[in-house]
């Protein structure tokens, strides 16, 4: 596992900082269904830590245990040294939470909601400044039921931050937003991190995780499949892609025989192979031997998305057995 950059590292922070959140062997069942099955990771101060995976993977359950909303069946969680179970009151002072599928009373205004939440905390942020920085000061008087999806998400972020938390847990923040609003929200999350807040980001969007997260725990069927930087996970899964146009038709059998090739896709004149190792060179060499020239060659490292598909496919059946 490579060391992620610690953005706000300074002389005041020891060389190997204590994790702000540590999760060890977390298990949570709902009846017979195992939602989280032995999940362990630790989150460093000031990073954006992604908990990613498909729907129903156990992401939300994991962060609900961290925020003290659910009691784990077994395992140990510490948040800034406190247990979410026994020190719930302490944790709620410095952990700001944005919940998935949470609405506000329809007739509450933006300003009322933020003012109300500010009154809940000992040392809240200035509500006006917060609304200003989130770009929703102008809709302060609007009622919740009249807000757009993007405005609701901004308000939700405001409520998570108004208590001036050191940790912000954001669950499926951009689900249901249009592409522009998603990008704006990403900018907001980066600014939260820049203020020194540790961000725990739950998402099933791989592009979002890739773009924002310093490190990622990839969870599927309640199990951590990978825990590293997005780049390292993408590389480790060996998700390389090579796309080219062959000078003559080439059959699948020939391509499969090339070392490292794992999958083949064809679209129009293009052939795309995915796999591991020194893929581009292997493909060019092998096809040259078969008397086929390769043009318009394009090779790139795999995305997190590719890695995710590979990692979950590999272990999929085992996961299904467990579920």
């Amino acid at each position: 596992m490579s060391l992620a950059p610690v953005p706000i590292a300074s002389a005041a922070v020891p060389a190997e900082p204590e994790p702000v959140i540590s999760v060890q062997h977390l298990v949570k069942r709902y009846g017979d269904v195992v939602a989280v099955d032995d999940v362990s990771f630790s989150i460093r101060k000031g990073e954006i830590f992604g908990i990613v995976g498909p729907n129903g993977a156990g992401k939300t359950t994991t962060v609900e245990c961290i925020s003290g909303l659910r009691v784990p069946d077994s395992g140990r969680i510490l948040v800034e040294g406190f247990s979410p179970r026994t020190d719930r009151d302490k944790i709620r002072q410095f952990v700001g939470v944005q919940l998935q599928d949470c609405a506000l009373p329809p007739r509450i205004t933006v300003g009322e909601a933020v003012g109300l939440f500010a009154s809940f905390y000992r040392d809240p942020l200035n509500a006006d400044e917060l609304l200003e920085s989130l770009g929703i000061r102008t809709i302060e008087e609007k009622q919740f039921r009249t807000l757009s999806g993007g405005q609701k998400q901004r308000l939700s972020i405001a409520l998570a931050l108004v208590g001036n938390p050191t940790i912000a847990v954001l669950d499926e923040l951009t689900t249901g937003l249009d592409p522009e609003a998603r990008r704006e929200t990403w900018g907001l999350i980066e600014r939260i991190r820049d203020r020194g807040v540790t961000v725990v980001l739950v998402t099933h969007f791989m592009d979002e995780a890739e773009r924002l997260c310093d490190r990622i725990a990839l969870i599927d069927h309640g199990i951590v499949r990978a825990l590293d930087t997005p780049e390292a996970i993408a590389a480790r899964a060996g998700g390389f892609r090579v796309r080219f146009v062959p000078s003559a038709p080439v059959d699948d059998q020939t391509l499969r025989a090339i070392p490292g090739v794992e999958s083949i896709e064809r679209k129009d004149k293009y052939v795309t192979v995915r796999g591991t190792g020194d893929l581009a060179a292997s493909v060019v060499d092998a096809l040259a031997k078969a008397g086929i020239r390769v043009t318009e060659l394009e090779a790139r490292g795999g995305s997190l998305d590719d890695a995710f598909v590979m990692l979950t496919r590999e272990t999929g059946p085992m996961g299904r057995d467990r579920a």
Binding site: D89, C102, R107
Partner: protein, 258 residues
Amino acid sequence: MTSVSDSAQPHVRSRGAFSELFKVQGRLALREPYGAVGLALPVGLLVVFWYIGTLNPGEVGSTGLTILELWIPTILVLSYTALGLIGLPAVFARDREIGWLRRVSTTPVRPSRLLAVQLLLNVIIAAIATVIMIVVAVTLLGAPLTIGVEFVGVAILAIAELFSLGLVIAAIAPTQQAASYIAGGLFFPLLFFSGLWVQPAQVGGSLATIMYFSPTGAAVRALLYSVFNATPPYTTVVTMAVYTVIFAFLAVRFFRWE
């Protein structure tokens, strides 16, 4: 960690939180129709029964009371029933259903605070409704009421009884929709027992007995004595107290925050 570890005064802001909650919930209550129903409907009915009374002067049966006098306690109970059974559980079930209570439970404020404020607001609205009705009945409509300590005690007990029933609905209803169905199903039988359409004194017999021992009928009977500064029959007070204890127990027993 420094700001975290010196959290020795966990409730240092709780008074601020309470007043802010009261302010915001109060404003929200004004934007919902429920409070108006608990206030406007009884005043409207008061005028209606006063008008019916002017068309049918004299005492009802051998009760010695005019229509207006006889119906005042029923209309008071109708106000408490509307507030307790319809407004209170609807708002609470909705706040639970949409995840608002869960959202609040991630903050240092407990969601029980929300419920406490909601209850307090409804009690205040019930008190305002009571004062308006008594004042209107005595000063504008000329009802010869003599309000004393006993009336205040009986009214508080009636509100406690009917609001506890509302909390049972809030506890068992999975959604706001379900809460309104349950409340609707109970509302009209309870209004019937309260004597809105026909007073127990007019029907007599075993139906009158059933009405007297219903949650609303007992409250109406106790209020009827107390608005004339008479001591209500102890059975009415005991009946209301027993219902209150049962409802409160059920509400606590089946309560859910999520």
